[in-house]
Symmetry: C2
Subunit: 402 residues, 2 copies
């Protein structure tokens, strides 16, 4: 098998952890597999480098920040190659530009365009483990770029796709994907399998195991992912297109997001183009909105509610207040003390019973629901932030413990 393994920054934070990671890689290699490894920067390296930059300037150039930050992964891969060679495993480290990792020019948040598998394949043919610096590439000017959040996961999946790898393992500090955050719900169960779509819904809702970018790419290229721990040697959670439990319409997880706020524009005129006016203003401010709900208001008016990142709340208010006359609304209603709770499961749409059970669990826990939103594989409800824990426990009990 050809296996791509990715280890995050906490997994390679110091000498001892690097040796443990090298042990995992060595065992994979000794089992007869070809292995390509993608590493992040060690522990706090990236933060330390950024701090150095900000000692010099409050406004560092993004190009130079990428030049600076990309050293972190370079250190990880060269050290890990040494650790492997010390174990008698031939290994070689390669940088983004050395594998032709071409990206867009958006420094700090570049997207992968192409990569050239030739060098990696040549090294694999020589029997070497290939260690690739994650998170980095070069743009059309041959300048260093970094891939932004989830960049190393995405590097791993891109390499797996290009090399037609059999499996892409994402090693983290948790043992896999759980039915709920185990820090909140001790009864949470590790899933053996989950579909790409379910993973995408969970990832976007604060289950920070895998970044959406990498899951989307894995889905597009049909790369089987495994999320597992670099600290405990156990099988993790497999992420793939169709799982065996899909036909049972079981739900796979519950996630919550407390970093959101809700805004409501009350008393809008009931005429075409109003929603466009509102969200054009927000888009111009580069503010992402999540749930959107429109309802009939009193006396021929309508209300539009939406959720957004708490950090964007003040900017959104200012923008909408500045354009109050052109939009035409009665008043602006803001609530930043809320929580979004979501139940995710593939094929849910065919089983209305899921929603009923969710509402039943919330009702029995005396949790009031402010907004409801559904998609093919998820149901989200907006509730008061104080009730988040109670609600999570009630819903988890209903779906996974009864």
């Amino acid at each position: 098998m050809l296996i791509v393994q990715k280890f995050g920054g906490s997994s390679v934070a110091d000498t001892q952890r690097l040796q443990r990671v090298a042990g995992i890689i060595a065992d994979t290699r000794k089992a007869g597999n070809d292995v390509v490894v993608v590493l992040s920067a060690q522990g706090d390296t990236t933060d330390d480098l950024i701090a150095k930059a900000y000692e010099l300037t409050k406004n560092p150039s993004r190009r130079e920040l990428d030049m600076l930050m990309s050293t972190g992964e370079q250190i990880s891969v060269s050290l890990c190659a040494m650790a492997l060679e010390e174990m008698g495993i031939p290994a070689i480290s390669l940088l983004g530009w050395q594998i032709g990792m071409r990206t867009t020019s958006d420094y700090g948040n570049a997207r992968i365009k192409t990569l050239d598998p030739e060098r990696i394949n040549r090294e694999l043919e020589q029997g070497r483990v290939v260690l690739v610096a994650g998170f980095q590439g070069i743009n059309r000017l041959d300048d260093m770029t970094t891939l932004g959040r989830g960049g190393s996961d995405t590097t791993a999946v891109a390499i797996a796709a290009k090399l037609h790898a059999d499996l892409c393992q994402i090693y983290t500090d948790v043992e896999g994907v759980y039915t709920a955050d185990p820090r909140l719900i001790p009864e949470a169960k590790k899933l053996d399998e989950i579909t790409y779509d379910e993973m995408l819904e969970l990832a976007s809702m604060g289950a920070q195991v895998l970044h959406n970018r990498s899951v989307e790419m894995a889905k597009r290229y049909g790369i089987q992912l495994e999320v597992l721990s670099s600290f405990v040697r156990k099988p993790g959670t497999i992420v793939k297109e169709v799982t065996k439990v899909m036909e049972e319409t079981k739900i796979s997880g519950i996630a919550r997001d407390t970093h959101i706020a809700r805004m409501a524009l009350v008393g809008l005129r009931d005429e075409p183009g109003i929603a466009y006016k509102v969200f054009r203003i927000l888009e111009h401010e580069k503010i992402n909105v999540d749930l959107i709900l429109q309802s009939i208001g009193r006396e021929g008016t309508k209300d539009i509610s939406f959720t957004l990142d708490k950090a964007d709340l003040n900017r959104a208010c200012s923008a909408l207040e500045a354009d109050r006359d052109s939009i035409g609304y009665d008043h602006l209603n803001v609530d930043d003390h809320i929580c979004k709770l979501s139940v995710v499961g593939a094929g849910m749409i065919n089983r209305p019973g899921i929603a009923v059970r969710l509402f039943e669990a919330l009702a029995s826990a005396q949790v009031n629901i402010h907004m409801i939103s559904t998609s093919e594989i998820k149901i989200s409800v907006l509730i008061d932030a104080e009730q988040a824990d109670v609600a999570m426990r009630a819903v988890h009990r209903k779906f996974f413990e009864e």
Copy 2:
């Protein structure tokens, strides 16, 4: 003018020093010059990285060590670019591979083969200061290499040569080249000018201002060097082909080297091929010898003496003792408590008076001479290590203070 400036590791060791360096660069740019800057790694960065490697393995691969170490210069150039931009000076950092710095494959000690000035020129045309990571390049496999001792100086001179720069300034922590080491001889005077050949002799004798590699390259391409301080804003010492004082046959400096030992093979047969046998053995062990002296011994035998690095002494002894029968000598004589003192000056050969004055100074200080060796521009004597200080002072007084 096009000026190449090189700053060493101590000049960029922390934020404050980086800002001072950026100030020097900014002033050079504001004076209307095009500026290319070569930087070393900050302070102890390289040592810290090597220590990390040795925590993992006693025998790190040289390829991976180069991959690891080359991050140091990358950090320096990106930070310095930010410091310059903060001062309103457009700047861009470039790595070895980005300027096509092709080297031999000798990891850790690679030699420069070619470099492509295209990218640097394009950035200069845009009005930017170009910051190049020193010490690094890539070999024909596209793997990272480092240039070994004096590598950043050599990077700077190579760029100056390829770009036909008007001047290559080497900034260090001393104010220039002195008639003797100012830490030993407080009366030592800074030289305004010195020839390449004089600088080469001084550099090879422990005046650690410039590495021989960079001086040799500067001489080959006729690049005018200036050695000056990054801490004190004063003119330094210009190194060039012909200095105005050349016809006066003034001597330019006195250097001493205490890191050497002397070996003598006594009672060799007086027949052809003996010297070849001896030095072939040493060359096979990769031991460099410096002064070589052959003299007639007693009863048709001859003696060969030579000096070598103290660190190589044990290996040299073992090798020569192992081959004692094939070489055929009476006994081996070793002295590691010696010092080489050299007087350097272009055109010295035409003025025998220099040697006489040197011997006079040593005699008046009661210093005994063990060996004498002369070249076109230098006279070296081997003396007891205990007398090194006395001898230096006496010779310096004779040539520079009378």
